[in-house]
């Protein structure tokens, strides 16, 4: 029974994006706070490989800012760094640059709108651009729930301009383009 609570706790912490308070966890699990607190302690020891036959995991459970969250164990920072380098080349791909250009001229724009202009799935490219700080979430449409993206000051800096007004005009082409796409439907 207690082991079962630990596994559920493990599942919850696994998907949590930010530190979770014991009370939040207890509520989600429908379990008493002291039992959850005990389970957390056992999990910490479990991941630290405290018991004789135990394994010291590549991750650990830490209390940060009044809540509990799973983190990669610090000694493995190097290997994570390698992965981050591998997945973030210093130059943006052609697809990412084109998507960025579409966003710059059509902002604010949702993922779906970008996808219909680019005729590809843009999820991973948008994620890359956000993590590179070139675009940001501008607002969420209250009706559709669609997140709209806009470019950041970092892009202006990279382009050597002071404001979006200084982007070269491409409006004649833009209008044509928009019509062309409506026509496709």
């Amino acid at each position: 029974m207690e082991a079962e609570l630990e596994r559920k706790l493990e599942a919850l912490l696994f998907v949590a994006d930010e530190p979770m308070s014991v009370v939040t966890l207890a509520t989600a699990l429908g379990a008493p706070v002291p039992a959850v607190r005990q389970s957390i302690e056992r999990l910490v020891e479990d991941y630290d490989g405290v018991c004789p036959s135990g394994v010291r995991r590549g991750f650990e459970l830490r209390e940060v800012g009044g809540g509990w969250r799973l983190y990669v164990r610090e000694q493995f920072d190097d290997v994570v760094r390698e992965l981050v380098l591998e997945q973030n080349p210093s130059k943006l791909s052609q697809a990412a640059l084109e998507t960025l250009a579409v966003i710059a001229y059509k902002q604010p724009i949702s993922r779906g709108q970008i996808a219909s202009i680019r005729a590809v799935n843009v999820d991973s490219v948008v994620r890359t651009l956000v993590s590179r700080g070139l675009i940001t979430e501008a607002y969420t449409d209250s009706e559709t729930g669609a997140i709209h993206f806009a470019t950041t000051d970092l892009l202006l800096t990279q382009l050597g301009i002071n404001s979006l007004d200084e982007l070269p005009q491409i409006s004649p082409l833009l209008d044509d383009g928009a019509e062309g796409f409506d026509g496709v439907a």
Partner: protein, 278 residues
């Protein structure tokens, strides 16, 4: 039209079957539903049994979206009719080139219908897969800030002009290929359009044989639609038929005194192909 559509929706909730054609995704979808409704396997007998019903649904074709699909419905309808007619004829007469063509058309219809059914069945597997996986939770946690800083500095080489050029290309309308589809997808044929041609010719010539009437029609769909148009005009009492001997030349004579564009527009709205076909 709107009324029959509503009726269709009601029918769906009641017995899982709908009347409106717009609820069917193409002729095979309709044909399969008809066969399934009668709990039959796909056989020649099954196809012939649902022919009348299939054709009666063609009456529902309306609106640009459905007209766009009409040619495919017509090709299937024509093949079904052919099969039904051939079934009524004495077996010995089926030896000429036309009957060979009929056999080919029939086999093609079977093959396509089977293929369609296979994909429809396997699509259920796709649906179930998506549903099951939508409930699964992959670990997806934002990369911690300290790791994000490991990402190499961005090397940026584009000027604002380069960037604008990139945007212009990305936003330019893409060429929509129109070549190479005609042989794969029967072009769209409208019965009303074909009827207009028939009416024009008959009004100027008075009497024409069907052979003469279809001269200039190169596509199979056009010939079928022109034949259906003639049947329609007959029902509207605008033409009369004369055939001296069975399977002989079919002569069509214009007889309507009053005929205008409105009459043409009404054509097909009271179309009942099932009876006319046999």
């Amino acid at each position: 039209m709107a009324q029959s559509r509503e009726t269709g929706l009601e029918a769906e909730s009641v017995e899982g079957f709908t009347v409106s054609l717009s609820n069917f995704n193409g002729p095979f979808d309709l044909l399969l539903s008809l066969i399934a409704k009668r709990e039959m396997d796909i056989t020649e007998i099954a196809l012939s049994a649902v022919t009348d019903e299939f054709i009666s649904y063609l009456r529902e074709i309306d609106g640009p979206e459905e007209l766009e699909q009409a040619s495919e419905f017509l090709v299937v309808a024509a093949t079904l009719l052919d099969m039904k007619v051939a079934g009524l004829l004495p077996q010995g007469e089926l030896v000429d080139a036309e009957s060979v063509a009929l056999l080919e058309a029939r086999d093609l219809l079977f093959a396509r219908l089977l293929q369609y059914r296979a994909f429809k069945e396997v699509s259920a597997w796709f649906g179930a897969g998506f549903e099951a996986e939508a409930n699964r939770h992959a670990r997806q946690v934002r990369l911690e800030e300290k790791y994000r800083q490991f990402a190499p500095e961005l090397v940026w080489t584009l000027s604002s002009e380069d960037f604008a050029a990139l945007a212009a290309v990305a936003l330019a309308p893409r060429e929509i290929p129109t070549v190479g589809l005609a042989h794969l997808h029967a072009p769209l044929v409208s019965i009303r359009e074909q009827a207009a041609i028939v009416v024009t010719r008959l009004k100027s010539e008075g009497t024409l044989s069907f052979r003469e009437l279809i001269s200039g029609a190169t596509l199979r769909g056009e010939i079928v639609a022109r034949f259906l148009a003639v049947l329609e005009l007959y029902r509207a009492d605008a033409v009369s038929f004369e055939q001296i001997e069975p399977l002989g030349e079919l002569n069509i004579t214009w007889k309507a005194d009053v005929w205008n564009d409105a009459s043409l527009a009404n054509l097909g709205s009271d179309y009942s192909g099932g009876e006319s076909g046999s």
